[in-house]
């Protein structure tokens, strides 16, 4: 049956849909209760989540004289995104910047974040981060943070990236666990927040319910000053990642702790009616080696391409300039057949790169060793080597004729110093058409999410009416729009601790933000 739909009809439907979208959260919130029959415990602040953001917030509350408890779905702060990160904390105004004479400004930092994120970042969390990151980092440094150094990092115009010498975020958790223990902060482990009590008339969150995963026992905790949601992102399970991010659904590596599945965010949607934003944006690197479904490490393919390798898709064709910023390559993978690509080279390029870099630098996060690389070459599922192009294509599934043509075209481009396909300019080395050939197959490596709650410049969560909900704050990966459309290294760890630091102080009355 054909039905003519007028422009007026379409506009009317769109308007109705808009009204429905606006009304639905409020209707959901009508089911919320202002308080349970009985509070089991009363404190100034309840923090939900015991990662970098949550523990930092709890310590600040305690230092401001507030009573605080933490509820956490994980069983340990070491089961958190901060523990898994590479120990890079970007910050403006740190003591280490001053010691090393680095020139910087919060405005330059905020601009870098916005620019890298294709201007899809939200200025409230970005500016708070840029302004206060230095004091948050210095707090960690002054409380026993393991050795670190300042380093230049792509995407940051000034010297502001502090790297742990260990290259591990576990150093931050070590500090926070110790500080929380010294302050005798109670952490309810394995006890996720399962309900938020919301007094809709007063527009105020009054407390939460948390439920033990082991016993099912519920505890209702009244929060006189506020609740801070620091429950992490959505990349912890393939299911939650795939639900929110269609471009990587069903493929690629899912990096995170299993508790980071976004369920706490949905509780807030259900009970308080707060909208979620930026949920489809994630930090996704185009270099995940997929092992056993959705696990696997990360290949620093640019060391191979810098030495003369090229990136090709299943058709054997290049699809981007290899010099593109890596997170900007990721969106191209969704359009490739099968959603993957392969770094392709000959033996001399592979050997030259191996001579220059350790195996663990080429395949890292976490690092593989020579034995594992050899095992994977033999397995031939992700790492391929072959004496002939025919054999290489049979192993890897790359189209033979496509790759043969691409190889000729690429070598002609190297010869002419003119890449007419994608304008790459650094090519000096041809790929030997007689082989032997090497290749590593890569999918998106999805490691943190950039969506969540909209917040004010005081980290107050916005309600369905886009006005702040009283007594409800967010910190860390649950905050929407810090990174915009593309994530720049160091900003997630930096924001987690800075937003936790500020949320804890703001809920206790700090106003100079």
């Amino acid at each position: 049956m054909t039905k003519t739909i007028s422009r007026r009809h379409l506009l009317g439907s769109a308007a109705a849909a808009g009204v429905a979208a606006a009304v639905t959260p409020a209707m959901a919130a009508q089911n919320a209760a202002a308080a349970p029959a009985k509070w089991d415990r009363t404190v100034d602040v309840v923090v939900c989540g015991a990662g970098g953001a949550g523990l930092m917030a709890a310590c600040q509350v305690a230092d401001k004289g507030g009573s605080v408890v933490v509820v956490d779905k994980s069983y340990s702060p070491y089961h958190s995104a901060t523990r898994m990160c590479g120990g890079l904390f970007t910050a403006y105004g740190t003591a280490i910047q001053k010691r090393e004479g680095a020139k910087d400004s919060w405005e330059a930092f905020a601009h870098d974040i916005m620019d890298y994120g294709a201007y899809m970042s939200l200025k409230e969390p970005v500016e708070l981060f840029a302004k206060h990151s230095g004091e948050a980092f210095d707090w960690l440094e002054n409380h026993g943070l393991a050795p670190h150094h300042l380093e230049k990092y792509a995407g940051h115009s000034n010297l502001r990236a502090v790297r742990q010498d260990s290259y591990q975020g576990v150093d931050y958790i070590d500090v926070l666990v110790k500080q929380a223990a010294e302050r005798k902060i109670k952490i309810y482990a394995g006890t996720p927040m399962t309900r938020i009590f919301f007094d809709q008339k007063a527009n105020k969150v009054t407390g939460i319910e948390a439920t033990s995963l082991e016993t099912g026992k519920k505890i209702c905790i009244q929060a006189k000053r506020g609740v801070i949601l620091a429950t992490g992102g959505i990349t912890g399970t393939p299911q939650s990642l795939d639900f929110w991010v269609p471009s990587v659904a069903g493929k690629g590596v899912s990096i995170g702790c299993s508790a980071n599945d976004g369920s706490a965010m949905r509780v807030a949607v259900r009970d308080v009616g707060v909208p979620l934003s930026h949920m489809q944006y994630i930090a996704s690197y185009p270099c995940g080696i997929v092992v056993n479904g959705r696990n696997g490490p990360y290949c620093r393919f640019w060391y191979f391409t810098n030495a003369g390798g090229i990136l090709v898709n299943k058709n054997g064709k290049r699809f981007v300039t290899e010099k593109e910023g890596i997170c900007h390559i990721t969106p191209h993978l969704a359009g490739n057949p099968g959603g993957w690509h392969l770094v392709f080279m000959d033996k001399k390029i592979y050997d030259a790169t191996r001579a220059k870099y350790k195996t663990g630098a080429l395949i890292g996060l976490p690092a593989w060793n020579d034995d594992r690389v050899e095992e994977e070459f033999k397995k031939g599922q992700n790492l391929f080597r072959a004496d002939t192009l025919e054999e290489f294509c049979k192993l890897s599934g790359i189209d033979l004729e496509g790759l043969r043509a691409q190889l000729k075209q690429w070598n002609a481009a190297v010869e002419a110093k003119n890449d007419t396909q994608f304008g790459r300019t650094d090519m000096t080395v041809k790929i030997d058409e007689n082989g032997p050939f090497y290749g590593i197959k890569m999918f998106p490596w999805n490691n943190l999410s950039c969506g969540g709650f909209r917040v004010t410049d005081h980290l107050q969560v916005l309600g369905w009416d886009l006005k702040p909900v009283g007594g409800l704050y967010a910190a860390g990966e649950t905050v929407a729009g810090v990174h915009g459309a593309f994530y720049c290294g160091g900003n997630a760890c930096g924001f987690a601790h800075t937003s936790g630091y500020m949320a804890g102080q703001i809920v206790m009355g700090r106003t100079d933000v």
Partner: protein, 111 residues
């Protein structure tokens, strides 16, 4: 070795559509009735962690048993993932830490 010691036989089914006749069970679980792990399931499915822990004690106790110098599969950054992500009774067990990390001596008992 560490991972051999880890090899506490926990149940896994992952055999949707597989009949009782060919649902062979490995190792120490071979003598158990199907219902020990799969009671109440409408369709064959991997048992929940709670089911495994009914016989194998607490997660903390398992973590204590497998504590090592570097890696403890029961106390990793992944948290308390389902037992059946590694342990399988109807097929070969699979040590998922090794998916990402290159770990020596990662074999299960009998592997």
């Amino acid at each position: 070795m560490l991972i051999r010691n880890v090899a506490i036989a926990l149940a896994s089914f992952a055999l949707l559509g597989l009949s009782q006749a060919n649902a062979a069970v490995n190792g120490s679980h071979a003598s158990l009735k199907c219902d020990t792990c799969h009671a109440g399931q409408a369709a064959p499915a991997a048992p929940a962690q709670k089911t495994c822990l009914q016989c194998h004690g607490s997660y903390e106790a398992l973590a204590a048993k497998t504590k090592g110098d570097k890696f403890n599969p029961h106390d990793s950054h992944m948290g308390r993932i389902d037992c059946t992500q590694c342990h399988a009774m109807h097929k070969k067990s699979h040590y998922i830490c090794h998916d990402c990390h290159a770990i020596k001596d990662r074999k299960f008992k009998g592997e």
